[in-house]
Subunit: 167 residues, 3 copies
């Protein structure tokens, strides 16, 4: 009897896991090649930067610009020039009403720089440098414009921050 | 004498009507082909989505992304996941400081999804999912990037909202 | 002894000047050709419109759209339709979280029209028509999409403001 219950529970567990996973399933395409570059559509719980980085690695993207919108949980950071650290603030369940960013390189790693604007249910807008973000109960639509050149981010010592180098 | 006045009034009426119409006249081009796609310039009283839909139908656009700015009367909506309805709010005589959107398909109809940011005369910013909008005392400049693929919006049952499908 | 000190001070002065200059040096490239157009990266103290105008003149750009982000001091203006003047407001040390603009012509001069959204350290967002702006302690990354046609801005007498003409 106990054995039967264990089997039933195991089945239910496997079933619920697979339902939970189906959202983030690898079988759902996250981007598609278009004339202008790539159209990316992220799904609930997708991490914005992780997906952009996976994309850049998989497609061997030299560099890129992107614009987008969606529905997200996001963390903005404002750079404190005295402490040289970003002071963060979280925004949950907000519309991503604008996003602009670049994919470049910092040494041998992909380096993403993005700014966003979000709005809550009162429509008040907040914006900032994106530290991290993930898709909420909705999606994110991102258009990626690929460049044929590999650009590096290099520290500009006079300001203590990375700047995209065009050399 | 009364007949003369009537004739004068009629002339003035016809004249004023035609001046009023000249703005929305069909003779003013609303978009022009450019290397990157189409540059659209909307005029006072033009409906944003109507113009984008007319354009997509006329030019047989498979799918597209667009970005824009202008001066508008606009209605944002925030999706209430309990009622499954958008809660709307109007903003009148505001600068459209950012707009990002996609043109795709929902069954056999053109389906436009756009997010915007607006600012009033105090420069405070508001943003959201655009339910409708029309150009105010100014214009709207929109760059449309056309895709060679036809993308569909399909209901994602797990979140109860449409998601752009890349299949 | 005094002579020696004078020489040392002179050396230090020349050295500090050249370090100060290196930021705005003409030897640092401000833009690079990419498949989609040009990627522009502006540095501390660069004037947004001056750099865009220099670029347009140097590269003989017929017309263009641009999008961008960065860290800036900026002045927005809201058009007062009674006085026909822009009422300005300055925002200092703010993230430029979104910028959309067009490069066209007004008679024989380059004419730039741009809208921006900025956010301060509280992440509150403000937006408007950009009257002027310069890069703060950071940079500005701008993607410029070049059009093959030369578009003119012409006064629309019915609204008293310039509108981009597609004729």
């Amino acid at each position: 009897m106990i054995r039967l219950l264990l089997i039933i529970f195991s089945c239910l567990f496997v079933l619920s896991s697979s339902i939970g996973q189906s959202n983030a399933s690898i079988t759902v395409k996250r981007y598609s090649k278009v004339d202008a570059g790539y159209l990316m559509v992220l799904r609930q719980n997708d991490d914005l930067f992780e997906q952009l980085q996976n994309f850049a690695r998989t497609e061997k993207i030299p560099s890129a610009n992107f614009t987008g919108m969606g529905f997200v949980d996001i963390t903005f950071g404002f750079f404190n020039f005295e402490t040289k650290k970003y002071e963060p603030r979280d925004f949950k369940n907000v519309e991503l009403v604008s996003m602009h960013g670049t994919i470049a390189w910092k040494n041998d790693s992909t380096s993403i720089h993005a700014h966003g604007v979000v709005a809550d249910k009162t429509f008040q807008a907040f914006g900032g440098h994106i530290l991290k973000g993930k898709v909420g109960t909705g999606s994110a639509e991102i258009l990626i414009t690929v460049h044929d050149k590999k650009f590096q981010r290099k520290k500009d010592e006079s300001i203590g921050a990375d700047v995209l180098s065009l050399d």
